[in-house]
């Protein structure tokens, strides 16, 4: 079946004019009277684009990711994924649409009770894909991610980089339009970080998929993103081509992020502080 093929033609993805992710004036407030976590965010991510959302802890990155993943519903505004308004779907409609988005969580959230192969097949089992198609798709993915020899291992038996690849393979199992990655490179050693960035780069080449990366690590973002959006206190501080943002940052917060990122020593405290901002936390 052509649609399940691991490679996807650009022409197969979407009509060019439709953004893969379209965030329209989204506001999210956790308590009445409290400052909003997201304050009227609007953001279009074109099909096939690799987009980085940056910001310090508490800037609203995680809330934005949770809203786009529909783990949270915005108080106002809309979020369209590949043209369909996810904020307006019923639970059962939403479940059918979920296959359009793959997510790699910061904590990966692999199932410890399932083997590598069974973890990758999970989204396909959930959407009712026939057994035989699942098997071939899983083999394909495991081979592409170079973890075929680990198919029968359990996640606890793998290295950090291998686990990351399992999570990526699982996120791509349903051939989604959009891949969300939450801090894909934080909490990794420099070598694994480089390998994950390489993998993300090849995913974008091979799958022609839209990738949205949430991170505080400007260097990682710069290495793979076409465009970057910088969040500050729930608002967009600036948004534009990655080169432009890096070479001539317009906002104070981007300059701060840049200065934070000059050396690994400076990166460490930032890494530490985001520890409290995992996606699992409300």
């Amino acid at each position: 079946m052509e649609a399940r093929s691991i490679q996807r033609n650009k022409s197969q993805t979407l009509p060019v004019e439709l953004p893969a992710v379209d965030v329209r004036a989204v506001t999210r407030r956790f308590a009445p009277g409290a400052p909003p976590a997201l304050d009227g965010i609007s953001l279009q991510i074109a099909a096939g684009e690799v987009h980085g959302v940056l910001g310090l802890s508490g800037a609203g990155k995680t809330t934005l990711l949770r809203c786009i993943a529909r783990l949270e519903i915005p108080d106002s505004g809309k979020i369209l994924i590949a043209g369909s308004d996810w904020t307006a779907l019923t639970p059962s409609e939403l479940r059918r649409e979920r296959g359009k988005m793959g997510i790699v969580f910061q904590q990966l959230h692999l199932l410890s009770s399932r083997t590598v192969a069974a973890n990758v097949s999970l989204p396909l089992e959930l959407n009712g894909t026939p057994r035989s198609s699942i098997t071939s798709r899983v083999i394909e993915l495991l081979e592409w991610f170079d973890i075929a020899d680990k198919a029968k291992s359990y996640p606890a038996q793998l290295s950090g980089g291998q686990r990351q690849r399992v999570a990526l393979a699982r996120a791509l199992a349903t051939n989604p339009r959009v891949l969300l990655a939450d801090e894909p490179t934080s909490a990794l050693d420099p070598e694994t970080r480089a390998s994950v960035l390489n993998t993300l780069r090849s995913i974008r080449e091979q799958f022609g998929i839209t990738i949205l990366i949430i991170t505080h690590d400007l260097h990682s973002a710069a290495a793979i993103c076409d465009r970057i959006t910088v969040l500050d206190a729930g608002r967009i501080a600036e948004s534009g081509p990655a080169r432009q943002i890096l070479d001539s940052p317009a906002s104070e917060i981007t300059k701060r992020l840049l200065s934070h990122d000059v050396s690994p020593q400076n990166r460490a405290p930032v890494l530490h502080s985001t520890h409290f901002e995992e996606i699992g936390q409300p």
């Binding site: 783990l71 979920r98 959230h109 199932l111 410890s112 989204p123 699992g280």
Partner: protein
Amino acid sequence: MNSLLDLGPEFLEATLQTLAMVSVAVFCCAVFGLLLGSWLTVTSPQGIAPARGIHQALAAFVNLSRSVPFLILIVLLLPFTRFLVGTSIGTAAAIVPLVIGGTPYAARLVEAALLDVDPGLIQAMTTMGASPVQAVWKAYLPEAVPGLIRAFTVLAITTINFSAMAGAVGGGGLGDLAIRYGYQRFRLSVLLVCCIVLILLVQLIQFGGNHLARHFDRR
């Protein structure tokens, strides 16, 4: 010692009765407990399909039936037991209150085991398109297997305890034997042997449970 040997067949029968009562009751409690416990977890305010009304009704039912002392529950259930198994005396009849008394307990144990599963993982399941039933079936239960085995070990041991009480009101088993021969006929040795068999049984179950739980733990 001679008199003890005379009672050999009685001991054997009583042990088998206890084993039958406990295994059937634990099996039923486990099945109903898994259902009820999963339902409690899923419908809780922090669950994946919050349903305030259902959750509160389930919780009230569980708390209510857990607050009735077991001996009184047996008596209260007599008409129901007679309706269900045709008699209110005997091993089969003793299973009814054991199941009804044990199920809410099992439900709470299951709920506690499921709440140990990382909520982030359940959210990840949601984003992969899992329905509440699929989340329970493919994530909550498999991920909680070691915890569930430990929970059912506790359940089995508690059921052995309760089966002695059910035995005392005509259910047979080791508790019954201990009361009839040991207590009412003043034969301390029978009482002690019953206790020793029960202690061995509990040790065996705890050992087996720990071993199984470790075996299934992939974390």
